[in-house]
Symmetry: C2
Subunit: 440 residues, 2 copies
């Protein structure tokens, strides 16, 4: 993409309303624009990252055997009256009355609707296990939306729902999602630590929040430092096999948010191995048994010919919130440092002097060669000061920059800069594409 | 995908509420489920088609130079008060009050919001031309939603908005979208005819509806039969070049909906060349000048240093509605016949006897070979009657079926069936993958 034809409204001033770095950088880099409190437009650069994050989340859901569908944003109040949550949910639920005076709401989550779909179509144990997920915009009318996309009102969430005959099989479903989440966050370039979460009246051990560490995290978290180096299952992981070993490995050491913190247990860890830090929740998985299936009559016939309420779990990832989380965990004073897997473009190509024929000809040629080699390149072909171009590229955080300037071209070279390390080197014009391929 | 692990709730009974064939088949094939009047869940099979249609629409928007962003579903009432449409829009607008008593609405379209984004960031003629689009769920509170996804309340629309300095350049932008639409519908496997539409107080000739012919179409349409065979520009079309010739070719003969019908002009066509049929609107493009930029203060500085209101156009495609339109145009008494480009799977593989070791072994092997060759296969590996399996495959309309039965295997053959023509042939087991590749 040529910057001269793109829509990338970079802000020079830091917006005053932005309290945390991800919010500041997303606004400054022209990724998002606030339309109302907690409601954002995703400008082209932001949308590209959002779609990449979404796609990784999707691929790992699919790999684990979950099946994608899409429920609408608008839900009828009746379903929520069945579950009893219509009155309980309070003012965070955006309630709407349509032209026929029917009560509706903008879905904040989908347990009721998916249970309704399930009870309509699934009647037999033979159709289980089943895990249905969707990636859809949700709305929660937060009283004080803040931190940009980290606590917005309209936000994109992946929510999956598992259905099983009994708790033992629901546990297997839970483990599949547990492993899918480990893989998802790893692929997104992050270390996410599963921390035991409150199970409320359900009890048991099947509730975990996945937390990434960042100084600006919303809550205090505590864990063993081994979590920073545990192995995440590779592409060959068998989701139809026994995953209990992986889950055991990822839960056998201390890890808790402040809500669940046990000071004594934490202090039992050797002091050098303790991590007390701030964290951001990016996923939450939860087994809730027959809570909804009891109330909503979602039963399936077992092998014995009798009907039983289905056992369910729900599994959320805050897709739009993840962008904030990634930036909080990966930035410097000059801007964002995108992990390669979610970078909006692979390469930023800078023509230092658009009015110079030679730099322009070489830049054009490189743009074409890199495109042909399969790279998605953002090419700054605009007139303007080199300094401003460098600042923009650093701000938007593409992994690799290629800088074409008159001085380098005298010796037939261009500069390659690695955004994360800041390392720069001069590379011959002939070798630059191979060099980029090698560094992939 | 193995059907035993998929979620494909086929209905045996034809739902009574479905008046038209696309609605009936989408319900029966387990593509959608109604959650409330005019509001649907997209079940896995339906979602796969929806995403394919969406992706083709996106690719052709991108090719034409339009840039994707994503505006939220929720909009503030203030913007619509600026344009004057808040009061005009009537009961089709879903109006909402949030917890802080602020007036919001579920966007039925986005002229106001995109104009607001434009005026915030774009100040100079140097940043034009610009065409920004998004693909987002909209809501129109239809008084009588009907025909399934053809006239739903919550629906997916692609809407693009062009910004230019003057009418002449806006016309070029309009032509680019005109050609992008021709290409989009062609790629979707349809013949869409651009028909002159009402321009209202704006006047001029820059408003067209794109109509596909189908017996169940909502309106009567009239055109020259040459429209059925006109050439659509290929992949090499130059969107930075002059497209007026293409547009002239596609507008130089009579084509009108009943609203714009001119009986005398139609009768001037030789009788054998007249088509009077029913049609479904699948796209609408419209130049509306400075209607919104005047009211909302969206001006840009021209080369003369003065500010002028920007000239705009809007360009819609009903993405979810298109699925209904495609089915109306492409089905038979047994079910849907998907054009290859949007089929949910490439191939339906039927194991006629899941309890037979040999058919199962061969089916498994074929499933793997076809997957390795890059085909997306829906594999009916379930127990059950062959007849029901054939009926399901015909209903869901995958382009090609491969049937593995004990009789064919005696001579080492399987059957290939073309869904559209009904043609069947026996092919040797060794040659079947090559045969499918050749028929691609």
């Amino acid at each position: 993409m040529r910057l001269s034809r793109y829509f990338l409204p970079i802000l020079k001033e830091t917006p005053k309303e932005a309290e945390i770095v991800s919010h500041r950088y997303m606004l400054r880099a022209g990724m998002i624009r606030q339309q109302q409190a907690g409601i954002y437009s995703w400008l082209p650069l932001g949308l590209k990252v959002l779609r990449k994050v979404e796609q990784i989340v999707r691929e790992e859901q699919d790999r684990s055997g979950a099946i994608e569908l899409l429920m609408p944003t608008m839900q009828p109040a009746e379903l929520w009256k069945e579950s009893g949550r219509y009155d309980d949910y309070g003012k965070e639920m955006l309630r709407i009355v349509d032209r026929h005076e029917r009560d509706m709401l903008f879905g904040p989550t989908n347990e009721e609707m998916i249970t309704d779909i399930f009870r309509t179509f699934v009647k037999s144990y033979k159709d289980l296990p089943l895990n249905l997920y969707h990636i859809q915009w949700k709305f929660r009318d937060e009283i004080r939306p803040r931190f940009g996309v980290m606590r917005g009102r309209e936000f994109l969430m992946k929510d999956a729902y598992s259905f099983d005959m009994d708790e033992a099989r629901a546990r297997e479903a839970y483990y599949r999602m547990f492993v899918a989440y480990l893989r998802t966050f790893k692929r997104l370039g992050m270390t996410a630590i599963p921390m035991k979460a409150d199970t409320g009246p359900i009890g048991g051990d099947l509730s975990h929040e996945f937390i990434i560490l960042a100084d600006t995290g919303e809550s205090e978290v505590f864990c063993h430092k081994n979590y920073l180096s545990k192995e995440v299952p590779g592409d060959d992981v068998d989701f139809s096999g026994d995953l209990s070993g992986v889950v055991a490995d990822w839960t056998n050491e201390y890890a808790a948010t402040d809500e669940m913190h046990d000071e004594a247990a934490f202090n039992a860890i050797p002091e050098a191995d303790r991590i007390a830090a701030r964290g951001i929740e990016v996923g939450h998985i939860f087994y809730f048994g027959t809570k909804y299936s009891d109330k909503m009559g979602a039963s399936v016939m077992a092998a014995d010919g009798k009907d039983y309420p289905v056992h369910m779990g729900s599994y959320g990832v805050g897709v739009s919130r993840l962008l904030g989380g990634i930036i909080e965990a990966s930035h410097d004073e000059n801007g964002i440092i995108w992990p390669k897997a979610v970078a909006p473009f692979d390469i930023g190509l800078i023509n230092m002097k658009a009015e110079n024929e030679e730099t322009s000809a070489v830049s054009e040629q490189l743009y074409e060669r890199l495109g042909n080699a399969g790279f998605d390149v953002l090419y700054d072909d605009r007139a303007g000061q080199a300094g401003a171009k460098f600042a923009t590229m650093d701000l938007i955080g593409l992994p690799t920059q290629i800088i074409v300037g008159p001085r380098g071209l005298k010796s037939n070279e261009v500069e390659i800069k690695d955004r994360a390390t800041g390392a720069r080197e001069m590379v011959s014009l002939d070798g630059v594409v191979d060099r980029i391929i090698a560094g992939k």
